[in-house]
């Protein structure tokens, strides 16, 4: 039971973080807060991937003469790390576009509250 908990708690924590981000996106009325929620959501997925790359007694994926590369259990799995480099950049790009859109929205309505803007559109 203790083993089971120690083997899985990181998954549950990242899933909980994901739900916090989703809560921010769904419940908050302010558009900037929604964007913050999106960022939390993406970060939680990055954490999830990084946590699955872990191996006990392994080191970072940079070859070290004292640890032979023939035994793969000496190094962490480099693939999830690489994937997450891509995902981080995607997150940054999304954030940039989101802020550009927010500035365009603010220039038009002088407000960033979702409900007020919806009332103005009606």
């Amino acid at each position: 039971m203790c083993d089971f908990f120690l083997g899985h708690y990181s998954y549950w924590l990242t899933m909980f973080l994901l739900c916090i981000g989703l809560y921010g996106v769904l419940m908050k009325k302010n558009l900037v807060k929604k964007t913050i929620g999106l960022t939390i959501l993406q970060s939680s997925i990055i954490l999830f991937y990084v946590s699955i790359a872990a191996k006990w007694d392994a080191t970072v994926p940079i070859s070290d003469p004292s640890r032979p590369v023939t035994d793969a259990s000496n190094y962490l799995n480099p693939l999830p790390h690489t994937l997450m480099l891509t995902a981080i950049v995607v997150g940054v790009a999304t954030l940039g576009v989101a802020f550009a859109l927010l500035m365009a929205i603010f220039n038009r309505y002088q407000s960033l509250d979702e409900q007020e803007i919806l009332d103005m559109i009606e």
Binding site: V25, T94, R108
Partner: protein
């Protein structure tokens, strides 16, 4: 160029032009439209050539960097990819050909970034369709989503807000896809579609795989505007500029449907998809609800573009319903409907663009019988597309619905059969309402004296008319030639 290099050239033609347009745009801004047309025309030509090459030789695999698939990434050019590439590149070429006057009027100073971003959008779509690696698919998905947020934000005053809502939902969708992919990756240890498809039957019904399936379906469902997740679509298509909506409406949701077909039917397969509970029947119910909801909401709209947007929600329902039936007839209906709906929706949105260009609005309430005289060709094309949308026999729309009906009968799914028949009726209501305004004399309205005399032909220029006419002709031709298309699609049915 050999056949081995072909899968690279089709998507990356767009990248070359996306990079060239800003570089040349510094020197001459006016050149961006011809260059965009050249790029998409080149890609359309290449995909036509590739389609012929596929029919002759069979699937083409291009392994990047020379690394064999589970190690590296490959582009797979198989039947489904060839078909989808041909459809989306042709539609994009025609829409971009049409876009010059609209772009000059609606966003004159922004043409250079606009055309560059359209090239990036098409690069994303082509990459999604070509790739054989699930994470690579995510990267291209994000390219296309980011570009479509940008394109939708160009429009009227409310467009950035619609784009922001799309961004929030779309980012959630992309993240769900990525998370589901993470579950599948832990379970199998690979990211390649073919490799993973061979392994997944060993894990059928395991909780992580099932969770991955659900998360990926939800994530792509958001991008494809499947019924409960369609909230972003009507506003986005209505407020965006005519060119953006005409470009994204026929291609974007189709590519979402492509990913669903690829993931559900090719990656998971019918058995492991339904291992724990009937995922396919849940999808079928959602699709049926979406068809009815979209049709009913479309009747209530008075703005032509918003009506077409709701109609898109219902048409996506047809495609998803066809793939949820998971039998050959349903599959043929779904894939054939992708082709038909791309042609019909592009035609209808371009008609809306023409009307907005000349009249400044596309409000159905203001339509009257002078439009028949003013825009004879545009309205004739609208009629062809509308009749096809309703599903009357000589047009293309009839045949996809026919195969969907056959598929529901083969599964003995009478509820979905009733949904299809009822929605055809609803489609007829909202399209014939427009046709009645245009083609029937309105007896209640007193026409002012001399109005008939001054009505003259205000048809748009040939550059704007030609794509509409080509698409309308295409609808009729597909309808007549449907047997050869169907026999091509039938060969692709997995399993």
């Amino acid at each position: 160029m050999t056949a081995y290099q072909l899968p690279v050239f089709i998507p990356f033609t767009y990248l070359a032009f996306a990079v060239l347009i800003p570089l040349v745009g510094l020197w001459k801004r006016k050149l961006s439209h011809p260059m965009a047309v050249t790029g998409s025309g080149l890609a359309a030509g290449l995909s036509l050539y590739g389609f012929a090459a596929y029919v002759n030789t069979g699937p083409i695999h291009h392994t990047f960097g020379g690394w064999q698939p589970p190690i590296g990434i490959e582009f797979v050019y198989d039947g489904l990819s060839a078909f989808f590439l041909l459809v989306i590149n042709m539609v994009a070429f025609l829409v971009l050909l049409h876009s010059k006057p609209v772009a000059a009027r609606e966003f004159r100073g922004k043409r250079m970034p606009f055309y560059s971003v359209t090239m990036l959008l098409m690069l994303g779509f082509n990459g999604i369709v070509s790739t054989g690696d699930l994470f690579n698919l995510y990267v291209f998905l994000e390219i296309s989503s980011l570009s479509s947020y940008g394109l939708i934000a160009i429009g009227n005053r409310h467009a950035p807000f619609a784009a922001f809502r799309y961004l929030v939902l779309g980012t959630i969708g992309g993240s769900m896809y990525l998370l589901g992919l993470g579950f599948l990756y832990i379970s199998t240890g690979t990211l390649n579609i073919i490799d993973m498809a061979a392994m997944l039957p060993h894990f059928a019904g395991k909780p992580p795989v099932l969770t991955g399936l659900i998360l990926m379906t939800v994530g792509i469902g958001i991008k494809a505007a499947l019924f409960p997740m369609h909230g972003w679509l009507p506003d986005a298509y209505t407020f965006a500029s005519s060119t953006s909506s005409a470009l994204i409406a026929p291609t974007g949701t189709k590519v979402g449907a492509y990913i669903l077909i690829r993931v559900l039917l090719y990656l998971f397969g019918i058995e492991s998809m339904d291992a724990v509970f009937k995922v396919s029947s849940v999808l079928g119910m959602l699709a049926g609800a979406g068809i009815l909801y979209g049709s009913i909401m479309a009747i209530a709209q008075s703005e032509l573009k918003r009506m077409l947007a709701y109609s898109s929600v219902s048409q996506i329902g047809y495609i998803i319903m066809g793939l949820s039936l998971a039998n050959p007839a349903g599959f043929v209906g779904a894939v054939l409907h992708v082709l038909n709906h791309a042609a019909m929706k592009a035609c209808l949105f371009l008609v809306a663009a023409n009307l907005r260009f000349r009249e400044g609005h596309s409000n159905i309430r203001l339509f009257n019988d002078t439009y028949r005289k003013k825009y004879p060709w545009t309205m004739a094309c609208f009629t062809v597309a509308a009749v096809s949308m309703v599903g009357l026999p000589p047009m293309a729309g009839f045949f996809s619905k026919w195969y969907l009906v056959l598929g529901t009968i083969a599964n003995a799914n009478w509820v979905l059969l009733a949904v299809i028949l009822m929605s055809s009726l609803l489609n007829a209501v909202y399209f014939f309402r427009v046709l009645e305004k245009v083609y029937m004399k309105n007896p209640d309205k007193e026409s002012p004296a001399g109005e008939e005399a001054v009505v003259m032909n205000r048809e748009v220029k040939p550059l704007m008319l030609a794509p509409v006419v080509i698409l309308a002709t295409g609808i009729i031709v597909i309808g007549i030639m449907n047997m050869s298309v169907v026999s091509y699609i039938l060969k692709m049915f997995p399993g």
